[in-house]
Amino acid sequence: MTDLAHIRNFSIVAHIDHGKSTLADRLIQLTGTVSERDMKEQLLDAMDIERERGITIKANTVRIEYKAKDGETYILNLIDTPGHVDFAYEVSRSMQAVEGSLLVVDATQGVEAQTLANVYQALDADHEIVPVLNKIDLPAAEPARVAEQIEDVIGIDASDAVHISAKTGLGIPDVLEAIVTRLPAPKGERNVPLKAMLVDSWYDAYLGVVVLVRIMDGVLKKGDRIRMMQTGAIHNVDKLAVLRPGMVDVAALGPGEIGIFTGSIKQVRDTRVGDTITHEKHSAQKALPGFKPSVPVVFCGLFPVDSAEFDDLRNAIEKLALNDASFSYEMESSAALGFGFRCGFLGLLHLEVIRDRLEREWGIDLITTAPSVVYNVYLKSGEMIELHNPADMPDLTYVDHIEEPRITATILVPDEFLGDVLKLCHDRRGIQKDLTYAGSRAMVVYDLPLNEVVFDFYDRLKSITRGYASFDYQIDSYRADNLVKMQILVNDEPVDALSIMVHRDRAESRGRAMCEKLKELIPRHMFKIPIQAAIGGKVIARETLAALRKDVTAKCYGGDVTRKKKLLEKQKAGKKKMRQFGKVEIPQAAFISALKMDG
């Protein structure tokens, strides 16, 4: 246990790719936390999917020890956070567990949309903020201009911002000194009942449920019996450790410290992030305020390809939800797809990540249905239902009107791309709220329907601005509009999993786009297949997939049989990745790809 004055806890926050994880690498390295041999780039991005995509998805905590210029040794707990807007909940949760933030800004890019969003969150959490200007090794870096921008746009003092290159290691000692001298020590009392914040949790194949805690008051020791105040669950602390970043056992954790414990927790539901942990006896009276719940904005169905794997999927989803509090789920059944789950996400990248993790970490092949936002459907009876799934849309004769969620989007973009961005927002039914300039960049604020944004807005924005625009949004309000349910019929059979809600004026173009996409995505069959989009009974778009005409092996002699048989087995396995609708097989990938818009 360390006394409070020698502890500093902080999160590293920034816009995506500004270099948080690389800075964390240098801090870990310079303090000798990890041996040179074990060091690798973005060490904390340990998940396959993080390494493949080169982004952080999960916040990660590491404890490092630093001998400061004042001669004292400090315990530093750093939390590296993700930058992408879909994982903002990870950031806000992490901030609750610490007292300060390193605000990293890429000196070649300047302030971006998530830079702003992060600063507001940090201020909300009463954080001390240390601005860090990164990537000054690059010729395009303009630290002076970016410092000015921070002061102008964000309004925080950047005169003593630390200039660094997380890549070369330049300036890292200054960062460590700034952490010790400029960030506050945590507060807390040792001799009072235990109050620990449940910051995060995850499932480990060997240890079971692992719980990450920040001790606020009191002391947590190995062997203690603890109670989760919200769920009431009682457990024994079997293992107590700090993360360096591997687990290193400790006997006790005192106020201000961050660490993990395990306690043969069987019920995944027992652990809820934001809960307060206290001792079973001598309990704290009042729980900590907890976290603001996250609100999922995109929903879709996840079904096992092999319906026998439903129980495996349930198990996997429960365990994964433990590690991701922003993901919600409930059981669902569909005529075509059988039993599965309706899941809620913070955005489309979040959806893709969860689906990927379920498939990789748990080995379950999944079918993903068309993502949808939540509509408020007002019935003539005066009743209102929340529509999470277009398939559940009541008959139109009962519907009075439909409201859709709208967002306030903030986009920062270099002048030269402004015209394209305005056009994109306009095409997506946006209403401009504000347009200001900061240097050669414009900041535009738009009121946009969420359903026009969730699928591929971010991708489009990146591509039309060659990656130079940044984007952040908040859910704003619900508003009525002329919304209809559009069905897709494949070979004259409606495919519920492809039904979407759409604005009436956009229905034809979306319907045509979906039919064209599906025509590319569905393999040819031995018969021709009409693909139609319809509203009510009325067909508004139609494509025809021609019949398969050629699929035969030209040469097949004695030496080819074995290979041919394997190929056939492989194709049969490939069929498993398809779903049968009537006589037609639709590849799983089609369910999401069909929705991506090109314009």
Binding site: L548, C556, G559, L568, K572
Partner: protein
């Protein structure tokens, strides 16, 4: 249980038409692989290697030892066919071919109409050896002509011209009783009209057999790599390839050389009997590097295979007395699948009672009914065969028939 007991059981207690002796319906052949070529063609994924000097003495010893080994396992079987395939077997010394065929004649009782085929490349050098092959006992030649225009031959990486190929083929026709040649079509930048013209020229040249293959882009070949890099242009799309296939059926049919298999055409009676063994689910021994075999021994059917690399195969035979990798037992159901895959390639089709016996009566009729209305299969007098519409989509038909069986 010892092998001897299995043999007794199969020979004494099972009637010849039982599952265990199913191969008899197809016959027995010997395949010999000669893995060397003068150059590697960019489309070819056969087990072929370019080697400067081949020690034909060493090869002779090893090939003969393999023949002896297989013969002791299959004594008293009547041998219907021998096939020298490659690579380029027309690079073999006629002496070596003679020694092999002498050994074959000594090893097995021969069918009266023993067919001995040798694959040949159409260069003048090779044509010079034709008489030697004939004297050794080869009575059928299959020649890889591939194209009847010089620029396409160059694009296919061939070392011969059209004129050279025509000459070699004329010599072969003089020397051998039976001759066939191969063409590859659906080539880069080949139009439908151009193929129709070329095919008519081929009809004028052909004797009574010909193989017409659509160019297949095989992974791991030079063409495969080009295609992956998006640099193999002018290939026909599936629709045009389907049209060209239909043209081929029409023109060959009118010329009296209908397809008896997906890519093989013959006057009735002039079919390749060796290849028919494959398609009719017969037994065949495979000798040489990378050669596959299917052998029914003591009532069990085995899939045999040898190492692909020539050096590895030679050493294995010399060291272990057998070139074979461990044999795989083919369960009756595997045999059923293979039988259907192969037999449906033939115009004559597959016998439903053979399927029933091998598959343990997995109901194929129900699957067939599922394809009803598509007009891809017809069922007649206990035989299941593809229709003209079904032939070019055989793989799709097989996926349906064999799905979840």
């Amino acid at each position: 249980m010892s092998l001897a007991i299995v043999q007794t059981l199969s020979e004494n207690s099972l009637p010849p038409s039982s599952v265990a002796e199913d191969w008899r319906a197809g016959g027995f052949g010997l395949y010999l692989h000669w893995p060397f070529c003068q150059a590697k063609c960019p489309y070819c994924d056969f087990n072929s290697h370019v080697a400067g000097d081949v020690d034909q003495v060493r090869w002779r010893a090893v090939l003969l030892s393999e023949i002896a080994r297989v013969a002791t396992e299959t004594p008293d079987r009547v041998l219907n066919t021998v096939f020298f395939g490659g690579g380029t077997p027309s690079l073999m010394d006629p002496d070596l071919v003679a020694a092999i065929l002498d050994a074959v004649r000594a090893a097995w009782p021969l069918a009266n109409d023993l067919e001995v085929t040798l694959e040949a490349n159409p260069t003048s050098v090779e044509a010079g050896r034709f008489r030697g092959y004939r004297d050794a006992g080869v009575n059928r030649v299959s020649m890889g002509i591939q194209a009847l225009n010089d620029s396409d031959l160059r694009r296919l990486g061939r070392l011969h011209s059209v004129a050279e190929a025509r000459n070699a083929f004329a010599i072969a026709r003089n020397v051998f009783d039976r001759v066939s040649f191969d063409l590859i079509y659906a080539r880069q930048h080949q139009t439908r009209a151009a193929w129709r013209t070329e095919l008519r020229e081929a009809m004028a040249m052909a004797a009574d057999h010909l193989s017409l293959y659509q160019l297949t882009i095989e992974p791991g070949t030079a063409f495969g790599r080009l295609a992956n890099a998006g640099r193999l242009d002018g290939l026909p799309d599936d629709d045009r390839a389907a049209d060209m296939y239909a043209d081929t059926q029409e023109i060959c049919g009118a010329a009296g050389l209908p397809a008896y298999e997906i890519s093989n055409h013959a006057r009735p009676g002039a079919e390749s009997r060796h290849n028919l063994i494959y398609w009719r689910g017969g037994d065949y021994a495979g000798i040489g590097p990378g050669a596959h075999g299917r052998l029914t021994l003591g009532g069990t059917r085995y899939a045999t295979q040898t190492p692909l690399a020539p050096a590895a195969w030679l050493e294995r035979v010399e060291r272990a007395g057998s070139g074979e990798l461990p044999r795989q037992v083919l369960a009756p159901f595997d045999q059923a699948q293979e039988y259907l895959m192969m037999a449906l390639r033939l115009r004559e089709g597959a016998q439903i009672d053979r399927w029933d016996k091998l598959s343990g009566s997995v109901d194929i009729l129900q699957k067939i009914n599922g394809l009803d209305g598509l007009n891809v299969l017809h069922c007649h007098a206990g035989t299941l065969a593809l229709t003209d519409r079904g032939r070019p989509v055989l793989n799709a038909v097989l996926r349906e028939l064999l799905a979840e069986v």
